[in-house]
């Protein structure tokens, strides 16, 4: 069976980006390691290199995790668009399992290609960075060998996670019934929802258990700095729970955001569209929620830390001289690193929104037939995109604020020798950047689908397929 790789280009983009990021980061770590080893003062210390490696791995794991979630959602969207074709093949006698295996195979193929692109582009990016850094005297020239076998690791990780994510995302293939090839087939909302009991329970258990650990970590953090490790496990567990239960968490947020868009028919329909298929809208937003949560968590923790340092600075100015600049650089570097994961999430959102508009050609044609103007149609799609982006951003900021404060509290609560309550630092600049980015994302995500939607002729809705 010939594959329809064309549907899979968004997945390829995500895989290639994650691969590029991982490979480039490892090369840069290697470069820094080589520079440190060459330096006479620090050359003996293997610790710095080790820490660099650990930090790089953490960020690579985060990027791969985000891209896996994005890919699973993209594949689920692709499958939704192929329902009729899958139903036809099932009708003629293809088994559900072979249909699913087909999609997983596409995932593996796309993941491999993405990994290869990642190795190439990542190495190129690292070389470019090195030349710039050496030319501007930021870094001495090193004898770093770009044939670093370690870069195979992120590449393999990308290929395998894309494959797995495609497998997970394709589970709804199993629900396509052959009879859907005949007559009209609809996304079956109620049926879908009723099957989520196991998933809901898992989500609740994870959230409850995770929040428990988070609280324990914060309390422990009042006396021991290790509390942050417990809190981190709690954070990961509870957040995974939220991701699993996204189809319950997101619709109320979307409904609230939708009310803010006024009561014109286009705005009302846009709000309805965003809520109508909880499965679909949570699929579209959750990647971005993850990205924004990561960025916010990190920014809030750093800001709280910075406030603590500033307070100490006011008390003993001479001890903390020159700390400001170092802090700024550290924050900037980490923000770029974590921001990359948010970028992957944003791309995922643009993809799923475009795909889902394309899949609704008939419905858009119907609106035109009923008398919607092109202008109204465009506004509807922009509003829908804005509702989704805004809901994801707000949810991410709220979650990130909570996690960020928990992180700062558990890490710094006992820093002064006695248990204190750390006030959460509010990174206003970061919130501003996030909101502007959300606006840009809304436009980016809606331009192509809106143009496509405006080309839909009203007669499409009336034609028999």
């Amino acid at each position: 069976m010939r594959t329809r790789i064309r549907d899979q280009w968004p997945t390829l983009l995500v895989a290639a980006l994650a691969g590029t990021f991982g490979v480039a980061l490892l090369h840069v770590t290697g470069l820094l390691g080589a520079a440190i080893a060459a330096d006479e003062v620090t050359g003996e210390s293997a610790t710095v290199t080790l820490i660099l490696g650990i930090v790089a791995s953490v960020f690579i794991v985060i990027a791969v995790y985000v891209s896996a979630i994005v890919t699973a959602n993209t594949v689920a969207t692709v499958v939704a668009g192929r329902t009729r074709l899958i139903a036809l093949l099932r009708l003629i006698g293809s088994s559900a399992r072979s249909q699913r295996a087909q999609i997983a195979k596409e995932g593996l193929l796309v993941g491999l290609v993405g990994a290869v692109i990642g190795v190439g582009a990542g190495t190129g990016a690292a070389m470019l960075l090195e030349q710039v850094a050496v030319a501007t005297d930021l870094m001495p020239a090193t004898d770093y060998d770009y044939l670093n076998p370690a870069v195979v690791l992120p590449a393999v990780a990308v290929a395998i996670t894309t494959w797995l994510a495609a497998w997970v995302g394709s589970r709804r293939v199993l629900r396509v019934r052959p009879i859907q090839a005949i007559g009209d087939s609809h996304e079956q909302d109620r049926e879908e929802l009723s099957r989520h009991r196991v998933r809901n329970i898992a989500a609740i258990v994870l959230v409850v258990f995770g929040v428990g650990l988070l609280v324990a970590g914060i309390l422990w953090g009042l006396t021991e700095p290790y509390g942050v490790l417990v809190a981190m496990v709690g954070g990961i567990l509870s957040f995974t729970g939220i991701v699993l239960g996204a189809h319950v968490v997101m619709p109320p947020v979307l409904r609230l955001v939708g009310r803010a868009f006024g009561t014109s028919p286009a705005a009302r329909l846009a709000a309805e569209n965003a809520v109508r298929h909880p499965e679909r809208s949570s699929r579209m937003t959750i990647g971005l929620v993850i990205g924004v949560t990561l960025v916010t968590t990190f920014a809030v923790t750093m800001e709280s830390y910075r406030e603590l340092i500033r307070a100490a600075q006011r008390a003993q100015p001479e001890v903390y001289q020159g700390v400001d600049q170092m802090l700024d650089v550290t924050v900037a570097v980490f923000t770029v690193l974590i921001g990359f994961s948010a970028l992957i999430a944003a791309i995922g959102m643009v993809n799923t929104l475009s795909l889902s508009v394309m899949q609704r050609t008939r419905e858009l044609g119907l609106l035109r037939a009923l008398g919607f103007e092109r202008r109204q149609l465009r506004w509807m799609i922009v509003a829908e995109s804005a509702a989704l982006t805004l809901a994801a951003t707000v949810t991410g900021i709220v979650l990130g604020f909570g996690y960020g404060w928990a992180g700062a509290q558990s890490l710094l609560g006992g820093a002064q020798g006695e248990g204190t309550v750390v006030l959460p630092g509010i990174p206003w600049a970061m919130f501003g950047v996030l909101l502007v980015a959300a606006g840009v994302l809304t436009l980016a995500a809606s331009i192509a689908p809106a143009r496509r939607a405006m080309r839909v002729a009203p007669v499409v809705a009336l034609a028999v397929e």
Partner: protein, 253 residues
């Protein structure tokens, strides 16, 4: 010893078939105690107005939907409680489908669409089967179009491809669901002629669901459904006779 459907010369049989949707006061009865047998090698038309249950009957006989009462056989196989995977294999090897909306795979060319049932079965056609497919493609006038995609073909040509696909595996039974519904009347007649020929010359059993009297007049046998029951079972009839009966059903109701 139990009598098998095939002993009676039947290719498909249903007994006491019932299908209800919903519960309580909102129950809709689509089929009500239907029993019938389709004879091997015959071209049978199943007629009835919209909502008479003819599509539901076809879906159940093809294993696409399950009845709420009664049993269903294809050949000597009781398919009433077959698993999804067993039904999948059954559809692949023993049933063919022709639809109103053609339902070809848009990314495959004509050849790919016709060979699809074999590809799904994970095997290549034997020499004998290949000869049969070549003959089919020739007699359906598709030889010059093998490399064309569905969107490059007219409606009539697309339906010929669908017929070739349905007949390629020499299935026990071909189901045709309003096969002329999307075609102009001349092309529709050609398609019906092809189905009738497949039945007469190759002994292919065909069950066609339609509400078009002209289409039904090509069949060897015509079953009329109304309100989920069989109300008439006749041999070959002219379009006028069929129309007259349909009208009388409307008047009686």
């Amino acid at each position: 010893m139990q009598i098998q459907p095939s002993d009676l010369g039947l290719i498909a049989r249903v007994t006491g078939l019932g299908k209800r949707y919903g519960h309580g006061a909102g129950t809709v009865t689509a089929l009500d105690d239907v029993s019938l047998g389709l004879r091997r090698g015959e071209f049978t038309a199943i007629m009835g107005p919209s909502g008479s249950g003819k599509s539901t009957l076809m879906h159940i006989m093809a294993g696409l939907d399950s009845p709420t009462a009664g049993r269903v056989w294809l050949g000597d196989t009781d398919i009433t409680e077959l698993s999804d995977s067993a039904l999948t294999v059954l559809r692949r090897r023993r049933i063919g489908f022709v639809f109103q909306s053609f339902n070809l795979v848009p990314t495959l060319d004509v050849r790919g669409n016709v060979m699809l049932p074999f590809e799904l079965d994970g095997r290549r056609p034997s020499r004998d089967e290949q000869a049969w497919i070549d003959e089919l493609i020739g007699s359906l006038g598709l030889s010059a179009r093998l490399r064309h995609r569905p969107h490059e073909l007219s409606g009539g040509q697309q339906q010929r491809v669908a017929i070739a696909r349905a007949l390629a595996t020499r299935p026990d039974l071909v189901f045709a669901d309003e096969p002329t519904g999307n075609l102009d009347s001349r092309t529709g007649r050609e398609v019906l002629g092809l189905l009738a020929t497949a039945s007469a010359s190759y002994g292919q059993s065909i069950a066609m669901v339609t509400h078009d009297p002209v289409a039904a007049s090509h069949a060897d046998r015509i079953l009329f459904l109304a309100d989920g029951r069989i109300v008439r079972d006749t041999g070959r009839s002219s379009a006028e006779e069929i129309s007259a009966f349909m009208l009388s059903m409307e008047v009686a109701a």
